[in-house]
């Protein structure tokens, strides 16, 4: 590997990439368009009431029903239910819920006997919808306490402010879309370039120079790292400034970006190298890319998908990159991020070996 060769190739490749409008559009403009579209679709509250998630562990007890009816009658909240079997903290964080109330299984009994009972309320006090839901709960609980006319308050609300940085859908969209560009930019362009250079015999031309195939590939890694960092910065910037996104940015993002680019430049090289024609390369590239594009947690958290699709997602390499990005940017859970990095790195190395085996500049 000679740095001079790598830089010479990087400069030529970078220019030719930057001169292609399609490449620039799909790398820099398209993801922003997606933020705008998906942000608008999912983050709107659709009216004056805010969502309040309720996990009712007390079934149909009269007291629980009375509480729910009270909340409904405030017209401040729009009640949605969390399955009683779900792990509440995980459910809340995975679904970016900012207001969740738990009705414990002892609720009805306690009211009947006058024993104190507390209602856990998971919320994010910095979000206005969380505050509105909190007010609604406060009003209803106070009303019930008064009606019970005990000497002391029977019902307490215990507030759990979450550790999640995210405050809305757009916050999950940003790591997802960073993963999306790490996937699509190299997959579409490297797959095409490798098959096109093969067809146009540009690799044969390059093989006549001292440039090696390893140097060529290394220059592609560098280029897509540059592109991905720029594109991620742009998305974070637009997300924070225009869509009021809240994401954590720190050095843990760097290895995730590097590994993600390494993974998909290798996979793109492999796909382009095994394809016989440019059209074949496009088909192979699409077959690999499309399922991953939608099912790896790019546009929505995978927890809202049916269980079997979630299982499928765990077989998609991009899932681990996006899961890692979410762990850093949204959940600030660095142990989980490290595990994702290790898994992604292993997959990347496998893809790299496959690519080097399939990618040849020589003809027989």
């Amino acid at each position: 590997m000679r740095l001079k060769n790598i830089l010479a190739d990087l400069s030529v490749y970078g220019r030719s990439f930057a001169r292609s409008r399609e490449g620039l559009f799909f790398t820099f403009v398209f993801p922003i368009v997606l933020i705008a579209i998906f942000g608008a679709i999912f983050s709107g509250n659709g009216g004056s009431s805010v969502p309040l998630y309720v996990q009712n562990m007390d079934g149909n007890s009269p007291a629980a029903l009375q509480l729910l009816a009270g909340l409904n009658s405030t017209h401040l909240v729009n009640i949605r239910f969390i399955p009683s079997g779900a792990n509440i903290t995980r459910y809340v964080s995975e679904n970016s819920i900012t207001a969740a109330l738990v009705i414990p299984s002892t609720f009805g009994q306690s009211i009947a006997s006058g024993a104190p009972v507390s209602l856990p309320y998971y919320n994010n006090p910095t979000v206005s919808s969380s505050q509105i839901a909190g007010q609604a709960i406060g009003i209803v609980v106070q009303q019930i306490n008064l009606n019970l006319s005990n000497a002391h308050n029977t019902i307490y609300v215990r507030s759990y402010a979450d550790s999640v940085v995210a405050q809305g859908y757009v916050d999950f969209l940003i790591p997802g879309l960073i993963g999306f560009t790490i996937l699509t930019t190299p997959m579409f362009s490297v797959t095409f370039i490798v098959s096109n250079y093969k067809k146009d015999k540009i690799f044969r031309q390059l093989s006549l120079t001292p440039l090696t195939r390893g140097e060529w590939l290394f220059s592609k890694f560098l280029w897509y790292i540059i592109v991905s960092v720029l594109s991620a910065a742009l998305m974070i910037g637009v997300g924070v400034l225009l869509f009021d996104a809240h994401v954590r940015i720190n050095l843990y993002l760097a290895p995730l970006l590097l590994i993600g680019v390494f993974m998909f430049v290798s996979l793109g090289t492999f796909a382009g190298a095994v394809a016989k024609t440019e059209e074949g390369a496009a088909v192979i590239g699409n077959i690999i890319t499309f399922p991953m594009m939608f099912l790896s947690g790019t546009f929505f958290p995978i927890s809202i998908m049916p269980a079997w699709l979630q299982t499928v997602a765990h077989f998609l390499p991009l899932y681990y990159v996006i899961d890692g990005l979410n762990a850093v940017m949204v959940y600030t859970n660095y142990t989980s991020a490290m595990i994702d990095m290790l898994i992604s790195l292993t997959i990347s190395v496998a893809f790299f070996i496959l690519a080097m085996l399939a990618f040849s500049w020589k003809e027989a």
């Binding site: 030529v12 031309q205 120079t209 003809e363």
Partner: protein, 302 residues
């Protein structure tokens, strides 16, 4: 006689049942232009790519500047320049950028201006490769081949697909390079090109070298020398053949008779006159390389 920079013997390459190259002997001397001439599919590209170290020979030996092109590919390519067949390059790159890129890779000085001047493309400095004409692309290919200042050039069909003007431009550049002392091995299926450019020609057909030498050598060895070209038709041609035993072909409203001495001219003219055809055409032609090529290969590309 000057030293051989390319020597090839017993070269073979088979693809399944296709004998792409079937026992070729070849020697190119320092400073000469040598053309491998042959129809499409004759085996020219397969041959030249084995010389360039791009393909591995099945059999035979190749020595280029004293090196084995397959084993010493890297060191050989520092000293030779190559334009592959159907030269193509990165689409959105200007000629100057492409030349500088190669210069860096070869650790050669940046001669982009000088090289673009040589091929008369100074005004194309800022045009992307994809917008160059076929002739300009090919000339850029030549510039890239010249970046490392090679002593030997391999040009595979350098003018195929170019219009006549662009082709003549290319010929001029090739002559300039020859005058600078470079040795050039090119392939072509254009007879005229081989005839006007080369010191020596090798005619290849079906993987075999069927004739070789200077165009004059080939004509005198494989041709009959002269041809009489007179008005005539099928019937007259038949009469000429049966009366004289000479080879005679019909070409439009004329016939062409291969003659070996001048007394045959009178005999042919007698036959034509006695058939009552008016003698509109009467020419005595030296046979060209084209006539020989047609006879040997039986076809010629447009």
């Amino acid at each position: 006689m000057s030293e051989a920079v390319v020597s090839v013997s017993g070269l073979r390459k088979y693809y399944g049942n296709t004998r792409a190259v079937d026992g070729i002997e070849l020697e190119v001397r320092k400073g000469e232009v040598f053309s491998l001439l042959g129809p499409n599919g004759a085996g020219k590209t397969t041959t030249i790519e084995m010389l360039e170290g791009l393909r591995k020979p099945d059999e035979g030996s190749i020595e280029i500047l004293g090196l084995n092109p397959w084993k010493d590919a890297t060191s050989m390519r520092r000293r030779v320049g190559i334009i592959p067949q159907d030269f193509n390059f990165i689409q959105r790159i200007t000629p100057a950028e492409a030349i500088r890129y190669f210069a860096t890779l070869f650790k050669a000085p940046d001669r982009s201006e000088e090289l673009l001047e040589l091929v008369d493309m100074r005004n194309m400095e800022k045009t992307y490769f994809m917008h160059l004409s076929g002739g300009q692309k090919q000339k850029l290919g030549l510039c890239l081949a010249l970046v490392n200042n090679p002593e030997l050039l391999f040009l595979d069909e350098p003018t195929t697909g170019l219009d006549p003007q662009a082709r003549r431009n290319m010929w001029e550049v090739i002559r300039k390079l020859k005058s600078e002392g470079k040795t050039i091995l090119l392939t072509t299926h254009y007879l005229e090109e081989a005839e006007v450019l080369s010191d020596r020609v090798g005619i290849i057909d079906q993987g075999k070298m069927i004739a070789g030498g200077t165009p004059q050598d080939i004509i005198s060895k494989h041709g009959s020398g002269k041809a009489l070209y007179v008005s005539g038709n099928d019937e007259i041609a038949r009469k000429v053949r049966s009366a004289t035993g000479l080879r005679c072909t019909v070409e439009g409203r004329n016939i062409s008779v291969e003659i070996s001495n001048n007394t045959e001219i009178a005999r042919v003219l007698d036959i034509v006159r006695s058939s009552g055809v008016e003698l509109e055409t009467l020419q005595l032609r030296e046979e060209t390389l084209e006539d020989v090529f047609l006879k040997m290969v039986g076809k010629v590309e447009d």
